[in-house]
């Protein structure tokens, strides 16, 4: 199986789409926010690779063509943002306050938890950029002396967590404004959360896209300052 996957251009792609489709079917059947197609697809793919002893690198031979679409898709997030220009102008102050407070909350809570768990300085700076988009977070982590492969893993897990918890959490906290929902999801869980926000609604998705960019910029500026605190 490993050899076949390593030599196939389509196997990884088809397997990924198939498992996501299974996730979508389950979501439709159970109609619950906890049934998350992304998480189901990731879980099934990992289970498949482990049980057939297929290397990740062999799977990625085909699956990388799915990742190939990620940069163009990120760029296309500008479209809903442009369409929601009015909401953006009207709520500019609220949006900036929301994203800035979220970025500070992220850095501060990583600091507090690192002290509580007794993490090393290196682990602390590895975690600091955890809420922002992968490519920026990885570079910020490296610059501060963090271990970037762990930063990448933590960022992806953060995104999946946000994608998974956003609907029930925002409901419990009575956050109902679509703009506030989008800012919350994008600031906490970057593009992976935004993919879910796009599903919730166009305005929520647009605000979430905006948060990826703005929270990335704030984190690049503030993370090195926080790195000196512990």
């Amino acid at each position: 199986m490993n050899e076949f996957f390593a030599s196939s251009v389509y196997a990884g792609t088809v397997l990924t789409l198939l498992f996501f489709y299974v996730g979508m079917l389950l979501k439709k059947k159970f109609k619950s926010a906890i049934v998350n197609p992304l998480l189901i697809a990731v879980g099934l793919t990992i289970a498949f690779l482990v049980s057939t002893k297929t290397e990740y690198s062999s799977y990625y031979e085909g699956a990388r063509y799915i990742s190939w679409f990620l940069t163009p898709a990120t760029i296309c997030l500008a479209v809903p943002l442009y369409e929601q220009m009015e909401a953006l102008k009207k709520n500019a102050a609220a949006i900036l306050c929301g994203i800035l407070s979220g970025v500070v909350a992220s850095l501060l809570s990583v600091l507090i938890l690192s002290v509580l768990f007794g993490l090393s300085h290196r682990e602390y700076v590895t975690f600091l950029p955890k809420s922002i988009t992968t490519a920026i977070g990885m570079a910020v982590s490296e610059e501060m002396g963090g271990y970037s492969p762990i930063t990448v893993a933590v960022i992806i897990m953060t995104g999946i967590t946000g994608n998974l918890i956003c609907v029930p959490l925002l409901k419990v906290l009575c956050i109902k404004e679509p703009v506030a929902k989008g800012i919350a999801i994008g600031t906490a869980s970057h593009a992976i959360g935004t993919a879910k926000a796009m599903e919730i609604g166009s305005l929520t998705g647009a605000m979430s896209s905006l948060s990826i960019v703005v929270s990335g910029v704030f984190t690049v500026i503030l993370a090195p300052v926080f790195a000196t605190f512990y």
Partner: protein
Amino acid sequence: MKYLKQTGIILLLTLSGEVLHHFIPLPVPAGIYGLVFLFTLLCLKVIKLSDVKETADFLTGIMQIMFIPAAVGLIDSWDIIKPSWFSYIVMIVLVTAIVMGVSGFVTQAVIRKGGKKDE
């Protein structure tokens, strides 16, 4: 022809983003440059919404699928995470929930305060 044109424009923007990423020594990924580019060009009416709309909607609509390969890649990081996986997961879940709560709460509070002033 419509889709060919839309795809062409989006890929051209992607390429411009890659060029900037290559030459500017900042930790900004190509996708973020491209996003800012496209947004600016839409605002300046250099690119019309109809030049990208359907293809853009399709790509953003299936975006969740594009994260699966990278997320499956976590199995290769498992060995380095394993020693302290429990504290990592606790931190990830707690921080994500706190950030989501704080930024959502603050945004909503400022929106509602502004709304009252208007009345």
